[in-house]
Symmetry: C2
Subunit: 429 residues, 2 copies
C-alpha cells in the first residue's frame, strides 16, 4: 500500500475517478444503514427475554427485607438489587443507591442538585459566576449535553492511550476553584474503547482539588461489557482508591443495566461515599416515594447474582465480537497503510473511534449519508459539537447485522478515501 500523501496529483485524480465509480454503484443500491448510536441489536435483546417470565401473577413479590414490591416503600433500592448492582460496580452494597431506568437521569439529577443546593454544604453552583467541567475528548455527547444545558463551561482534555491527559487534569483541578467536575467513561471509553491505566486511576484518586465541591463523574457504563474471553481490560476501583488517598467523597460512580438487560427498562445506580449518599438520599426523599421495585426484583431474580450477570455478558460478547471484528478488518483492509486515518481496536464497550485527516470528518459523514449510511454527527464527540480538528468519527456497530455492517463499511471506507483525496488535491493546489 502506498500512502495517499505519496501519490502524485495525477495518480490521486485517477484514483478518485475509479473510487467515484464504485461509490456511485453503492449509492445506486439505495441503502438505508445506521451506525450512529450504541443501540443493542434485536439478537442481544432476545438474550434477556427470560426476564419477561421471571415475575408472574403466581410469584412471591416480597423482597428480602419483607416488603411487598407492589406497594410504596423502600426509598433507595431493595436489598437483592443493591447486592447485584454493588457487585457489578465493585463496591460494598451499603455504598449504593438504586434509581429508575436511566443512569443518564441520575447524572443529570446530580448536576441539577449541585446547581440548586450545592454539594455537601458548598455554595449552590447557580449562585456562582462561573462553573467549569473538564471533558476528556473525544467523549460522550450526552454528558456534554448535560453540562451545556446547565450553562457549565466545558474544557477539552485530550485523551491518551492510558486515559485523559493527567498533567492537564491535575493542573486545572488543583488551581482553578471553578472546576467542579470531570466527565469520565473510565472503561472501554465512549468512543475510543480506552481503559484508564492503573497510574491514571491512582492520579485521579490523588487529586487535590482547589474546589471542595469538585467531584469525579465516573460513568462506568461498560464495566463488564467485554468483547473477548482472553483479552480483557482491568480498571482499578475508584471509590476505594479515593478512600485510601483520604478523599472518600471525591467521586460519584454511575452505572446501569441498560446494555445488559433492556435499554430503557433496566435499573440504574449511583455508588458513592456514605456522606455523599446521605445528601443524595435527603434530596431523593423529596423527589420521589421510591423507584420501580418490581423491576428491581425482576432483575435480581433473573440474573440471580453477579456470576449470572457475567455469564449473560458472554452471550452479548458472542454477538458483538464478530461485528467489531468486521469493522476492524474492513478498516485494516481498505485503509491500512494509506495514512488517511487511524483507529483503535477496543477490547469492549460499544464503539470504534476513527480519526480522519484533519478537516475531513464532517465531509466524510456527509459523504456516507449520500449513500444511505447514517453515522454519529461529526463533532458530536466534543463539547458544543465542535471538534477542533474535525477529525473524529464514532462508529457504532452494535445494531446492524453483519451483512449490513459489511455494506456500511464499504460506504464508509469509500467516503474516507474520496474525501481524503479531495483534501490532498486541495492542498496540492
Amino acid at each position: 500500500m502506498t500512502a495517499y500523501k505519496d501519490l502524485s496529483k495525477n495518480e490521486l485524480k485517477a484514483l478518485k475517478k475509479e473510487l467515484t465509480k464504485k461509490f456511485e454503484d453503492v449509492k445506486a443500491k439505495g441503502l438505508k444503514l445506521d451506525m450512529s448510536r450504541g443501540k443493542p441489536s434485536t439478537e442481544q435483546l432476545n438474550l434477556s427475554m427470560g426476564m419477561m417470565d421471571v415475575l408472574t401473577s403466581s410469584s412471591d413479590l416480597v423482597c428480602e427485607e419483607g416488603v411487598d414490591c407492589r406497594n410504596y416503600g423502600v426509598l433507595d433500592g431493595i436489598k437483592e438489587a443493591k447486592q447485584l448492582l454493588a457487585d457489578m460496580m465493585e463496591v460494598p452494597k451499603d455504598n449504593i443507591v438504586i434509581f429508575g431506568n436511566s443512569s443518564l437521569n441520575v447524572m443529570y439529577d446530580t448536576v441539577a442538585r449541585s446547581m440548586i443546593h450545592g454539594v455537601m454544604g458548598s455554595t449552590p453552583w447557580c449562585k456562582l459566576d462561573k462553573v467549569k467541567f473538564l471533558c476528556p475528548v473525544p467523549g460522550y455527547d450526552r454528558h456534554f449535553a448535560i453540562t451545556e444545558h446547565f450553562g457549565i463551561e466545558m474544557i477539552n482534555i485530550p485523551m491518551t492511550p492510558t486515559g485523559p491527559d493527567m498533567d492537564m487534569v491535575e493542573e486545572l483541578v488543583s488551581t482553578d476553584p471553578a472546576v467542579k467536575g470531570i466527565w469520565c467513561v473510565p472503561k472501554y471509553s465512549n468512543p475510543q474503547g480506552i481503559t484508564y491505566s492503573d497510574e491514571t486511576v491512582h492520579r485521579f484518586a490523588k487529586l487535590n482539588p482547589a474546589a471542595e465541591d469538585f467531584r469525579i463523574y465516573w460513568d462506568n457504563a461498560y464495566g463488564i461489557h467485554h468483547l473477548y474471553e482472553d483479552k480483557q481490560d482491568y480498571l482499578i476501583e475508584i471509590l476505594m482508591e479515593c478512600k485510601k488517598e483520604g478523599h472518600p467523597d471525591m467521586v460519584y460512580k454511575f452505572s446501569s443495566t441498560s446494555k445488559i438487560s433492556f435499554p430503557g427498562s433496566g435499573i440504574a445506580a449511583i455508588a458513592a461515599s456514605d456522606a455523599n449518599l446521605k445528601e443524595i438520599r435527603e434530596q431523593m426523599k423529596i423527589q420521589t416515594i421510591g423507584h420501580d421495585k418490581l423491576n428491581q426484583l425482576r432483575h435480581a431474580r433473573f440474573f440471580k447474582d453477579i456470576h449470572g450477570m457475567v455469564k449473560h455478558m458472554k452471550k452479548h460478547a458472542d454477538i458483538m465480537r464478530p461485528k467489531f471484528d468486521t469493522v476492524l478488518a474492513s478498516l485494516e483492509k481498505e485503509l491500512g497503510g494509506l495514512e488517511i486515518g487511524s483507529w483503535l481496536a477496543p477490547r469492549g464497550g460499544y464503539f470504534i473511534s476513527f480519526d480522519s485527516m484533519d478537516g475531513c470528518a464532517k465531509a466524510i459523514v456527509a459523504k456516507a449519508k449520500e449513500a444511505g449510511l447514517v453515522m454519529t454527527n461529526a463533532g458530536a464527540t466534543y463539547p458544543y459539537g465542535k471538534d477542533p480538528h474535525d477529525s473524529n468519527i464514532r462508529i457504532a456497530p452494535s445494531y446492524p447485522t453483519l451483512d449490513e455492517i459489511k455494506l456500511a463499511m464499504e460506504v464508509f471506507t469509500l467516503s474516507v478515501k474520496l474525501v481524503s483525496i479531495d483534501k490532498l488535491l486541495a492542498k496540492a493546489e
Copy 2:
C-alpha cells in the same frame, strides 16, 4: 348527646375517669395499627395481578408506532400509553408526556427546571430574591416538602367546601409577581376529599397573574378514584378552561396510575399546552433517553382503554368504600354532637380529614400513638409542618383491614375525647 362544652367540670372529670379506664384497656392489647399514609391495601394490589402476566417472553413487544419497547427510542411515551393516560386525564393525547413511575418526581422536576432555567424564557427562579407558592391548607405534605426544599416561601390559603379561598388566590396572584405557583389537588383533595366547584375552576382559569411564569400545579391524583357508583364528584377540565380564557400555558396537570395499578410501579404523566410541553421535551431529552416503555406497554395492554380502567376502579371502590364508611360511622357514633371535632364525608380519594378543637391535634396523635395507633403527624397537612390552629388530622383508612380500622377508630375517638376533656378542663381553671 350533650356537647362537652356544656358539661360541668365535675361531669368532665367523671367522664375522663371512665374514658381513661377504657383507654388503658385498649392500650393493654398492645396494638400495632397504622393509618398514616395513603397506601393501597394488599387486596387492592391483588386487583392488578393480571398485569404481571400481560407481557411474557412470547409477547409481541412492539408498540403501535412500530418501535421495539425493549430498546432505546420514543422520548415522551408510546402512543397507546399516551392515549390511555390522556383519556384518564381528560385531555387530547398530543397534550401529554409520559414519564417514569412517579408523578411526585415529575412535579419535583418541574419546579427544579423553573429554578434553574426559568419558565418559557423567564428569569430562572434561583436568580430571584424571592419566590412564593400558594398552598391551600390543609394539603399534601409532599407538595409542601418540594417547595420548602427549594427555598420557596409558602403562603397558606384556607380551603373552603368549594376549594381554595379564591378571593385570596386572585388577590395574591394578580398583585404579587413573586407568586409563581399554587399547589392544587382539585378532586377528592388530600386530605379533605373536597372537589373544586365549577365556579372555583372558572376563577382559576380567569386568573390574571402578575408573574408571566405563574403556573397552576394541578395534581389530579384522584381523578377517577370514586367511592360510590351513585354519588360522584365532577371536576371541570382545567386545560381547556384555561385555553378558553386565553391562558393556555397557565397550568401543569399531573397524574399517575400509582393508586390504580401498583404504587411505585405505575406510570406518571404531565398534561399541558403545546408551548409548555415543547419546553419540557427540550429539557427531557437532555435528562434521559426515555422512560420504561415495557411498563407503559404493560399498562396499555392490561387496561386496554379508559373503559377498562374505569371498570378496574370500581373494584378498588368496592374495597375502599366499607373502610371509609366504617371510619365515618365511628366518628358519627362516638363523636357526633359532642362538638369536639368536625369532619367531611368525601366521595372519593384516600383520606378523611378531621378537625379537633384548636390546640388538640398534636396531643391527640400522641395519645393515639400511646395505644399503638400511628396517624399522620399533626401539622403535616400544613407548610413547614405548622398547623396554626393545631387542629387538623389526616385519617388514611386504605391500608388496614376493616377489623383493624374498627380498633383504630376506637383508639382514635377515645384519644380525641380525652384530649378534648383535658383542654376544656384547662380552660375552666
